[in-house]
Symmetry: C2
């Protein structure tokens, strides 16, 4: 397919998405919920069709020599289908943010002013691999009244198109334009460029994937981007820390699920507690298979550590590896976090009231925690319900993005003929 054709296809889809989203914005909650629940049912009924289309992607993947881990992420097993179905039920059960009105107040002029939650419009999702994101993201966008234009990875294209087809069938049965959910059928990179230039039809771009994808999107897009960037998360053990608590939180943050963005990548330890804390912590972490990359001071205390190289500071390992660094005080820890953190999740373990207050206030990250595991930075754990990702952009949404973050607020004014003096 040549670039002109791609441009035509993607532009038309964006324009149709805008038109569909305008209709969707006025669809009642009950209809949106029925769409979600009917989709859940259809996913179960059409499992054979889904597996069949998914098998095409898997066959191509095997031919291309994708790693077993990649193929695993690609597979729409019964378990993955069940999790999509559960997700749809959960999103149907969440309360609809659209139309919520708050901050209503009477002004001296006589008018009453408030703010009403409204959909953002059209969300552009750009993601890699896992095809279940197609349903999860589309369901959240729909519930928030947004149209969604999905651009998944080429290795999952048959699966993504199959899932979108089922959703569109349900939309049509409820007389909602099926262009409210669309998967771009073109997998050339150029299609992404065209998508990122549709500022008249797409309101926000949410990229989910590797660092390279996110950088490319942020640098190319003419549409606002809510970045879901890497998580280089740290745990700082203050001099007044409870040592057992520190070890428990380090273990949970590093070993419970090392491949996710809220896993720990670094351990910073106050110098005056390092000789007590590090040997015990290192023993447990190493027993769990964690490779510790230590600064000189840490290696002096625990000689089993691997000496860290300069390139290790600030690296997102997503693996059973973490850097360890002894710091002179909390200021040095906060300075290190500022330099090497990714504004995702930062944790302090401390017994000091003053230090807990300062850390909370001064550390710049989407979630700042005292005496709790970094693994809690998650929409479900924070009580937002399902999430579309964790934003490390400060504008609009910072941290887990749920339904509310997929809407905006407009001002509404009730008057009785008031004019301005």
């Amino acid at each position: 397919m040549d670039n002109d054709q791609i441009e035509k296809i993607v532009t038309e889809m964006a324009e149709n998405g805008r038109r569909a989203a305008r209709k969707l914005a006025a669809v009642p909650t009950a209809v949106k919920n029925a769409i979600l629940l009917d989709t859940a049912q259809l996913l179960m009924d059409e499992r054979e069709f889904i597996r069949h289309e998914n098998e095409k992607d898997l066959a191509i993947g095997r031919e291309k020599g994708l790693s077993p881990a990649m193929l695993d992420r690609l597979e729409l097993s019964d378990k993955v289908i069940a999790s999509m179905v559960q997700g749809l039920h959960e999103i149907a059960a969440l309360s609809d943010p659209v139309g919520e009105v708050d901050d209503m107040k009477r002004r001296p002029s006589g008018i009453t002013v408030g703010r009403m939650r409204v959909p953002l419009g059209v969300v552009g999702m750009i993601y890699e691999s896992r095809p279940n994101v197609t349903i999860d993201a589309a369901a959240l966008c729909l519930k928030a009244g947004n149209g969604v234009l999905l651009r998944g990875g080429s290795e999952a294209i048959f699966s993504n198109l199959a899932l979108a087809k089922l959703l569109q069938k349900v939309l049509a049965s409820h007389l909602v334009p099926e262009e409210a959910v669309q998967v771009i059928p073109v997998t050339d990179r150029y299609g992404v460029n065209v998508m990122l230039a549709q500022e008249d039809f797409i309101d926000v771009i949410i990229p989910r994937g590797g660092e390279g994808l996110i950088r490319f999107v942020a640098e190319t897009s003419r549409i606002p981007v809510l970045k879901h960037y890497k998580g280089v998360c740290h745990l700082y053990i203050d001099d007044s820390a409870d040592i057992q608590m520190g070890i428990r939180i380090a273990m949970n943050g590093k070993t419970q699920r090392p491949g996710v963005c809220n896993a720990l990548e670094g351990l910073l330890v106050h110098r005056s507690i390092a000789e007590q804390f590090l040997p015990a912590a290192a023993k447990q972490l190493m027993a769990a298979g964690v490779e510790l990359l230590g600064c000189k001071g840490s290696c002096a205390i625990v000689p089993d550590m691997t000496p860290a190289m300069d390139s290790d500071w600030g690296t997102e390992f997503l693996d059973l590896k973490m850097i360890v660094r002894v710091v002179n005080d909390m200021d040095e820890a906060m300075h290190y976090i500022e330099q090497y953190g990714s504004q995702h999740t930062e944790v302090i373990v401390t017994g000091s009231y003053d230090n807990s207050r300062r850390f909370l206030r001064e550390v710049d990250a989407s979630a700042v925690m005292i005496n709790a595991s970094s693994r809690f930075n998650d929409g479900g754990q924070f009580g937002l319900g399902a999430e579309i990702g964790i934003s490390t952009t400060k504008l609009h949404a910072y941290g887990p993005m749920g339904l509310e973050e997929l809407t905006t607020r407009k001002f509404i004014v009730f008057g009785e003929g008031e004019v301005r003096e």
Copy 2:
């Protein structure tokens, strides 16, 4: 100055701004307020210096043949200085949003989660003409804990630099880095390009000015942009409208201050009320000097109207001119608004409960009003205090932007050693 030099200067300023903003974020409210009040005092004390620097701009402007209106906008008269001083007092009196915590709740895991308001970081303002924006914008950004990098118009450069110098003097006297407020001394267009590429140091760009400037910024920036775009605002007179109320709101919206973004540019009238409404409304509007550009149906009712040309629909006149159009029903009015409005302010005058509800819900604009003048779309009128502008971007802020919109919220977690299962 060559491009390399410009690049060096602007990049260094952005980097210094980031560093200063980090310090500013932790400055207590009392110090920020003292800075604002001391600046107010210094503006009064240094009126001679301000007038002297402003005179340089005015002299160049006169030489270049700027219009009297342009020169008027450029002048830092005693009245304008007094209004800056008053603005500083008002902003000092507003409560500080930084550090506010809300939505605190206990989660089933045991952790307590809430959201804390924090500064955005560094705000980049790009604006034209009026030098008082330098003080107004800097004061709001400072109060919200943000650093600000200001790029004003070349015709006001001496005035802008003079005002920034005074503010920096006060910052230094309170031991706050003076780079918290900086005016870019380079007026080449290339300086704007360099500024818009500083995504590592600037968090948000706020452009204020003409359509051309805003388009250029939106298309060039790699930093999120909160557009303050044109206001093509409409008043729709429903068939059940109170005719006198409709005329009063039309008059106020068009004639009270025709050159501002929340002034009316269009009047849409339901066909079944047009013969009653239009002659009376046209008489008053024309008596106030308003030129009415009518559709065929309107001109048939009021032959004194100028027949509208196709290019008139959707035009921001900013003048005593407005289009008039007869529509068959509210749906046609809402469709016209969707096509020609600028998502700024849209008003209905109606006596119908159902239509008021539908208009409120379905019209997509930063402010939607029932039976009130479009001129109320303003931070002061809405109770936000001072505003930095009116955003027509849906992401982050939609409508008047006050102190709160210059901040974001991070998640904070209080634990007692909880880890994730």
